[in-house]
Amino acid sequence: MVVAAGGSASRKKGHKRERGTTLFVFLCVLPALVFLAIFLYYPIVETFRISQVKTTGLSEEVFVGLDNYRKLFADEEFLAGLRHVFSWAFWSIVIQLPLSFFIAFGLTYYSNRMSNTLRAIFYLANILPSAITAMLGKMVFAPNYGILVTIGKVLGWKWLASADFLGNPKFAFWSVFVIATWAYAGFYIIYFMARMEQIPRDLREAAELDGASALRYAWSIVLPDLSYAIRICAVLCTVGSLKLFDLPYLMTTGGPGYATVTLGITLYRHGFINWNYGKAAAIGVVIFVLSLVFTIIQFTIGKGKDA
């Protein structure tokens, strides 16, 4: 796959390998390899080792084998985090992607003077540091003075005025999700727009000659053309939910209970708040395995495109 024939002339048969080529290659790759060896390969190997010991950092390391993993799968917090990987990914795909698709389509199909400005606005929330996004999110969902609660008070809707968006386990996940959609959808929008702009223009003209409506055109031409892009975004949603940390941690620290816990949060809490390195490393390994699975899916989708 990666070796797919490129235009590398330097491999032509009979091309005389100059002396020093090997040295050159070696020197070029060396810096990257040194970086990775120190900050990636070594920690990866360590993760597997630490995941089999019990240590708090202050205490000695005690080898416990797979005990950390056994405890992990009896740990409600971890299981909640694991569940949320999948539910978060699912809802991202089902809600964020279609929403982004329609916004992108609207902006591209009815392109006018406003389009570029609107695109820039939609993407704005995406580049904001998450600490600030979380700050703004709290102002929307806070009890007593939050926007939604205030709207409820003004309209006299008691259920809204006394709703506890961040404190009720049933709502907390969704409150964080809404803010995440607000923050993340911008990326999918600009991505879809870029793909849509590459659809040849004659296709649209032909569709319009046939009298196809905008929706019909979106459904039968744009959607199939973007199927690859959508699949990629679906993978990004999944990988993103695996790595999710900033927003839920800053907005709810995973609470109430374990309602908004993610794998990243459990790892951080076990490792750096409870000082249970072994358990945290075991979570790291779980994240690694899941990421491996998602990567294989990603590759399969990549192949689908070439086939």
């Binding site: 390899l33 900050f39 920690p43 006018n112 700050m135």
Partner: protein, 296 residues
Amino acid sequence: MGEVNTMAVKPDRPRSIQGTRRRHRPAEIIVTVVLSILALFVIFPFVIPFLFAAKTQLEFAYHPWAWPKSFQVKNFIDAWKAVRIDKGLINTLIVCIGSIVCTIPPAALSGYVFARYRSRFTEILFYLILIGYFIPVQMVLVPLYKMEVATHINDTLYGLFLPMAAFGIPFWTLIYRSFFKSLPNELAEAARIDGAGHWSVLFRIMFPLAQPATVLAVLLVFIGAWNDYLLSLVLLTDQNNFTMQLRVASFLNAYGTDRMPRYAAAAIISAAPTVILYIIGHRGIIKGTLAGAIKE
């Protein structure tokens, strides 16, 4: 496949489904209005803090949503003193520059070799580096931290941007590799016939040609380092070393909502650098982000 998320930087294709000379149709107006309203929702949360930040503490406590009676500059002064975003800003800039300097040269060098000097040996090395692309930061957090503590580079800015660079190198190696693959080979061949060595071909011909990729890399590595939270949260403890993100987040935790007007002022101050950067460079930022994500 290997480059699902990568793309060679090529000139934009002509914009196609955009109709430019048509008259505005009712459907178009409706859709534009709906989209504009959605865009207002995006902007709205940016406006609220101004309403809160203008008030005194008691005014806010009793009437959070009323129009402010006067504009309290004091909130902004207090917030500035508490967050000291300027200190964080300098650290953030150091981290950004450090991670650019440490990410891009190694990635460009190795990407070039993987594109132009292909052999079984370099393929193996390529896969070795590719592994890094699939490792989530979270996985190695614990050993990384232990290692930094043991070598006393935790709680330093280079202790932060060095691993950050290590996490970026695999991705940018991929990008550079596909970029160099897309370049025509004639120039390099000609130079080589003239007797130029590997290094001079690389530095005099290939790297200047790679400028578009490098511009993107600078931009995106910058944004990545600018927005990092998790890694800095774990690796930095001394407030003097805090990045802007950490300063904002620790303000969020330590001062929280007990003084909402000051808190809102802090939100405005904290968001300002990013928003200003974005307003200046949003075209480049959007284009750059796409370049990193689209496969041609």
